[in-house]
Amino acid sequence: QKTKEGFLSKIGRAIAGKSTVDTEVLDNLEEALVGADVGVTTTVQIINKIEARVAKDKYLGTSELNNILKEEISSLLVDAPDSGFRDFDTPAGIKPYVIMVVGVNGVGKTTTIGKLAYNYKKAGKSVLLGAADTFRAAAVDQLTVWSERVGVPIVKQQMGSDPGAVAFDAVQSGASKDVDVIIIDTAGRLHNKVYLMDELTKIKRVMKKVLPDAPHEVLLVLDGSTGQNAVEQAKQFTAATEVTSLAITKLDGTAKGGVVLSITNQFKIPVKYIGIGERMEDLQVFDKEAFVDSLFSTNS
């Protein structure tokens, strides 16, 4: 995990000279959490839990408080039901394993697909990409560059063609070629646009005509610099496609991505990956402990 100034490192400093958990300490904590995009509701929840666990004005060392905080924050982050993804393994008995990638505009879906393909291939899996974003200017060209860069085949049609038809083709082609992993790119869409969300539901449904269980994974990509709107994104994409996992991108910047705490807590969807750059190597498997630790890290 990349270390940067953890947003909770300030807390350590703020309470270093203090001996009790008083209102000032809790106010500092509130500021640190909301300042990392955790959001007011979840922040108040965390603070209430801390308050319940430590009697106010009680003596508490920095490290003690930090540990309690870490526990509380960790408990908001749900674990993935299966840990195989850490080694880019696919679940036993599922072949091809179909991943559908969704999210609002510009969050990093296509790039994340390139990175996933690279990692799966590196782990010895055969991969096929499906270019079901037929809408955004040069979206197919962009995914094609990624397929060449990584060295994996791509199924595509002309711009403007039916995305469902592309997804169908890709799954069919992958199944007949017996590949291990099929990753379907979709066009970015804002979650408040009903017709676009319906289209996504339809793309998902079409794949089932080839493989009744597909897609096995619906990966929602969230931009790490997004604020509270990400919660609504998670809600609407889940309603349309039953999202099963999350990727948080652009965490190589100064954004903290704290809104993910609210999201995984509220929707019980695990974070699987984080994006930390634009190259194909810049994907990390999400590590809960490391992520929470990084929030407290004083390294900048």
Binding site: E31, V34, G35, A36, D37, G39, V40, T41, V104, N105, G106, V107, G108, G114, F135, R136, A137, A138, D141, Q142, T144, V145, W146, R149, M159, L190, H191, N192, K193, D223, S225, T226, G227, Q228, N229, A230, E232, K250, D252, G253, T254, A255, K256, V259, E278
Partner: protein
């Protein structure tokens, strides 16, 4: 989506009813609610704090005349304060120079390329200009193709050098061509970059130094959270941009980042982008934005009820 500020305040106001004057005690919980509503709308928490401190000061002096409740007064003070902050400076593009050079910059995926297309279309159809788009993003896969597709859609020429890996040269050569071809406006689309990426920030600063643009527009995603303050500050320090473009406002975000940026760098918001199609560009309305951030679509009803 979020509980609107007016909903939140309504309960706080219930307790204020019947008070004759806004006092330290009856304003405290209201101020906290306002602060939290701002933060939930993605206004930077430090700025939200400064703002609410100011609002508190303004409120403290106020005597409540019998016709207006303290609640009504608070709503008015908050709304006026935000509207004033969001507005101010004249926000027209500076288009006198021939050709006018416009540099587009911002974070990855914020909507720069799409906006470049929209702006070219706007200047062509509404301002009677002859634009040239320059593809100076040498990194993103198919970035040139993307701009070319947009250029074709609106009938605007795109200058690119697919083999050249020097953004400064491409921008300079593009401007030479614009002069030769009699283009009256040049729009330079650049790669997305993080404020902390020194190499990339130097690149765009070098492009600026080389082409001396009349306008430098900072394109920012309206869904951005607390980090908007860092990004805006750094981009402004490096580029001294002339205006801000808020994108993806067709979503349901509150858009508190707009307030954060306005407050942090004091540069006007010149355009809002409201869709993926190339004719979805609008000018900026400060008051509308203030109400959106506050979730105060229903402000008049509230004032009537308060």
């Amino acid at each position: 989506m979020f509980e609107s500020l007016s909903e939140r305040l309504e309960s706080a106001f219930k307790q204020l009813k019947g008070e004759g004057r806004i006092s330290e005690i009856n304003v405290a919980s209201t101020i906290k609610e306002i602060r939290r509503a701002l933060v939930d709308a993605d206004v930077n928490y430090k700025i939200a704090k400064e703002l609410t401190d100011r609002i508190r000061e303004k409120a403290m002096g106020e005597k409540v005349i019998t016709a207006i409740s303290p609640g009504q007064l608070m709503v008015k003070i908050v709304k006026d304060e935000l509207s004033e902050l969001m507005g101010g400076t004249e926000a027209e593009l500076e288009l006198k120079t021939n050709p006018t050079v416009i540099l587009i910059a911002g974070l990855q995926g914020s909507g720069k390329t799409t906006f470049s297309g929209k702006l070219a279309n706007f200047l062509k159809t509404k301002k009677n200009k002859k634009p040239l788009l320059i593809a100076a993003d040498i990194y993103r896969p198919a970035a040139i193709d993307q701009l070319k597709v947009l250029g074709e859609q609106i009938g605007v020429e795109v200058y690119s050098e697919p083999e050249n890996k020097n953004a400064v040269q491409i921008a300079e050569n593009g401007i030479k061509q614009a002069k030769a071809n009699g283009n009256t406006v040049v729009i330079i689309d650049t790669a997305g970059r993080l404020a902390v990426d020194e190499v990339m920030m130097n690149e765009v600063a070098n492009v600026k130094a080389a082409v001396k643009p009349q306008e430098i527009l900072f394109v920012v995603d309206s869904m951005t959270g607390q980090d908007a303050v860092n990004t805006a500050k750094t981009f402004n320090e490096r580029l001294d941009f002339t205006g801000v473009v808020l994108t993806k406002l067709d979503g349901d975000t509150r858009g508190g980042a707009a307030l954060t940026i306005r407050y942090t760098v004091d540069k006007p918001i010149k355009f809002v982008s409201m869709g993926e199609k190339l004719d979805t560009l609008d000018v900026f309305y400060p008051e509308r934005m203030a109400q959106r951030i506050l979730g105060m679509g229903d402000i008049t009803t509230l004032v009537e009820r308060a």
